[in-house]
Symmetry: C2
């Protein structure tokens, strides 16, 4: 119901959250200094990376699970919307209070409680950035693998609630694969504990998995126990050009027969390459129809051997202009091309509709070929790049933010791209989630009986529908 | 409510499933030849590895999802219990119809539908053994990592429903980490589809994770899409003895600083060693207080290097009698000791209560020390072995099947061991699940608000409580 008003903003809603006695009680729970109500102060909490503004009536910053529970008990008794917010950098409005009510900022719950190198886990609160978490465990020689692009700004609580992806998925999986246990406050203020500190745990239903990717609709995460791995000694990257996306993607399947599982396999399409060259003049080959970047990690010797093997495989399968990193600096340089995409694309429009569809990776060439057709049919520039190794492609339809007709066309492209992804055996989101932005498209990917089960589960956790209303289901 | 009658059997229950018109309808749905009702024919479907007999009123073998749906619609309309059964080799009675009703055998739904080496997945039905599945994908150079001990007999559907573990968990995780998507028939006969064919998929709640380990209480799996990996080129194993369990387990933490993540880390305690030597005379060192077996996989060169590194680490950390495999044959021989445990233990009693508690792995020595105290206090022989790398220990209390007093004592040991495991930061089951055997202990590990959420979810999938009654919750 909201996506039709995309790129607009909404006046501040008024719900029971604005009642003076409610505000008073919120201040009693967390302290007056931790409740924001002034319009100019709450405004920044009304948007995420989608940039549409839905200001909350109040922003509340609890410091403890007990405070979180009391806030939710109050909200459930008074019936007003509650939207949890981490770093606020999502692409589907998950942290945005579209129906008003309060935003709960987890900023003060930002402590690391325990790092166990012996048992390979970390216990932390939801409000620290994934980058800070990674830095902290790295000091103990440990790796927390999930690496969504926004990891320097996104909070770990948000990453769990959105089941964030990233580049290292081919080897390490997504965020849910690194979550062992959670403490969660449900909409009724109950504190539940899912999973534990061990990978093996088959005691009752797996609520940990259910919470990952539940987008704040089932409960608010107040503590997480995350799985860690030994930090690999080294990484290496190989980059190559191909005449076409078909040829680039064909290589993805050539590593398996050699027993190789790269950590990351990223692809850049011809339109992206053109945009990058126009802006940065890296000197990429003119005949490049696609660029493939493949990275491995592990022990130093092994990494070098595997990088050489990748180089050979790329060469034997129509790759050209092949570059292999021999140092951290060279590796960083090879990735510059990837980092140059987003700024370069902004020359093709003042507004970028950035989608993240996913298909079985063998379908990526077909996906991109047909997306280009869709773009041409709707007179919209489109450029594609992303995580080819797991079939998760970022599709960027460019339009003019002051031209509603160009936006309408781009949105039509998005809709057709979603249907295309489902038709190719994939789905409408690989890592950004549904939020309010994709809610109207959910039934393209999920059939009615399955949707009914999801809605039933929502009712178990949140009988009065106070948690993140207006998201996922419409 | 059932565990007090452990090791007894129950006369055949009578529910609406026995009504002649119900049996008639079941025969209409699947064909008369696929419905068993004769007492001698249904009897084998009344027990699993627990060996207690609860014969069903009928056993039904559907061939399609549609038939499965019709059976469940009938059961939900007539209200009779339905218990899904895979290989029937579970340790907690998950496939056993304790309240009567029908057993659904998935034996006829045993097809592999698609193997995609390009996209690294397999689509299959629930009724083939995990071994058969592994053999089939291996022909394509692919690995399905989950390896529960019973994998030659257990069905993949049962492994998913129980979220089975195994030895390779330290590197590859448990079954749920290899499940991408499921087709499930709920108690009301609705066919739902969870997840998909891709690792990245954040569209709606993660019902795939929820189904893994749901023990047949939420729905019956009719199709699974499973994640595959490139088959590693080689494996190698190193075995060492240690003076004590403390010293053996201390080594587990020494691999991380070297950047090494072994595939498997198995431990055998002193009582097991004594039992093995008495029966097989392998010539294990007399002063061995524990044996540690560590395995790695990967490329041949890398595996050899890593095995050498493990050898050095074991040596530097008080290991002795260290043996490293140089061939597949040598490797098999090193594992003979592990395989000898179960037959050896049967000399210490005619009945083995085999538990599978889990703790953070640094707590394994403390766990085993205190379990020995518990055994002594209750005059019960106990021997421990298992998956030290993930803290999942098989605790074996030995008793006499004809001596109810010895069984009572052993069961008291089990109960205290469960509480101990929870107190040490772990839980009451790492891989066997709850079933009816551990149902009365569930609240040791799961608090009341979390249990209420689980029961609420059960109601969403199964409003009339027909699916696997008498399990998990009591």
């Amino acid at each position: 119901m909201y996506s039709s008003i995309h790129f607009q903003s909404k006046p501040r809603a008024t719900t029971n959250a604005s009642k003076p006695e409610v505000i008073e009680k919120l201040k009693e729970i967390v302290g007056a200094e931790n409740v924001l109500v002034e319009p100019e102060k709450v405004e920044p909490y009304g948007a995420d990376a989608v940039k549409e503004k839905f200001p909350p009536e109040a922003v509340v910053f609890p410091a403890t699970t007990k405070e979180m529970s009391e806030i939710l008990k109050l909200a459930n008794a008074e019936i007003f919307p509650v939207t949890a917010r981490g770093g606020g950098v999502g692409y589907t409005g998950g942290a945005v209070p579209v129906d008003g009510g309060i935003v709960i900022g987890t900023d003060r719950m930002n402590k690391i409680i325990e790092i166990s190198a012996d048992d390979l886990y970390v216990v932390c609160q939801p409000g620290l950035t994934t980058w800070d978490l990674q830095q902290a465990v790295e000091k103990h020689g440990l790796l927390f693998p999930p690496d969504p692009a926004s990891y320097k700004d996104s909070f770990i609580g948000g990453n769990i609630a959105e089941n964030a992806g990233g580049m290292r998925t081919p080897k390490y999986g997504v965020t849910k694969h690194s979550v062992l246990g959670l403490e969660v406050v449900t909409a009724t203020g109950e504190i539940i504990r899912t999973g534990g500190k061990t990978v093996k745990n088959v005691v009752g239903f797996d609520l940990t998995g259910l919470m990952c990717g539940s987008e704040g609709l089932l409960g608010i995460i107040t503590e997480a126990t995350l799985k860690l791995l030994p930090m690999p000694e080294a990484t290496a990257t190989v980059r190559a050009s191909f005449k076409s996306m078909e040829l680039a993607c064909k290589v993805l399947t050539k590593f398996t027969p050699e027993g190789l599982l790269p950590m990351a396999m990223e692809v850049i399409d011809q339109n992206c390459i053109g945009a990058i060259e126009q802006n940065f003049a890296f000197g990429l080959p003119k005949e490049a129809g696609a660029i493939l970047i493949v990275a491995v990690d592990g022990f130093k010797d092994e990494v070098e051997k595997n990088a050489e093997m990748i180089e050979r495989i790329l060469e034997a399968n129509d790759g050209f202009d092949i570059l292999r990193s021999r140092s951290k600096e060279e590796e960083d340089k090879l990735w510059d091309v990837r980092r140059a995409i987003s700024p370069s694309l902004m020359k093709y429009g003042t507004l970028k509709l950035n989608e993240d569809v996913v298909v079985p990776r063998s379908q990526v060439p077909e996906l991109i070929r047909k997306i280009e057709e869709i773009g041409r049919a709707h007179n919209t520039f489109v450029a594609n790049f992303g995580h080819a190794g797991d079939g998760n492609i970022h599709v960027n339809f460019m339009c003019d933010k002051d031209d509603s007709e160009s936006i309408r066309r781009a949105r039509e492209c998005v809709k057709e791209t979603f249907q295309l992804s489902v038709d190719l055996g994939g789905s409408i989101s690989g890592e950004h989630g549904i939020g309010y932005v994709k809610a109207q498209y959910l039934d393209m990917a999920i059939d009615l009986p399955t949707l009914e089960v999801m809605k039933g589960i929502k009712k178990v956790f949140d009988p009065n529908g106070i948690l993140n209303p207006g998201k996922m289901f419409v």
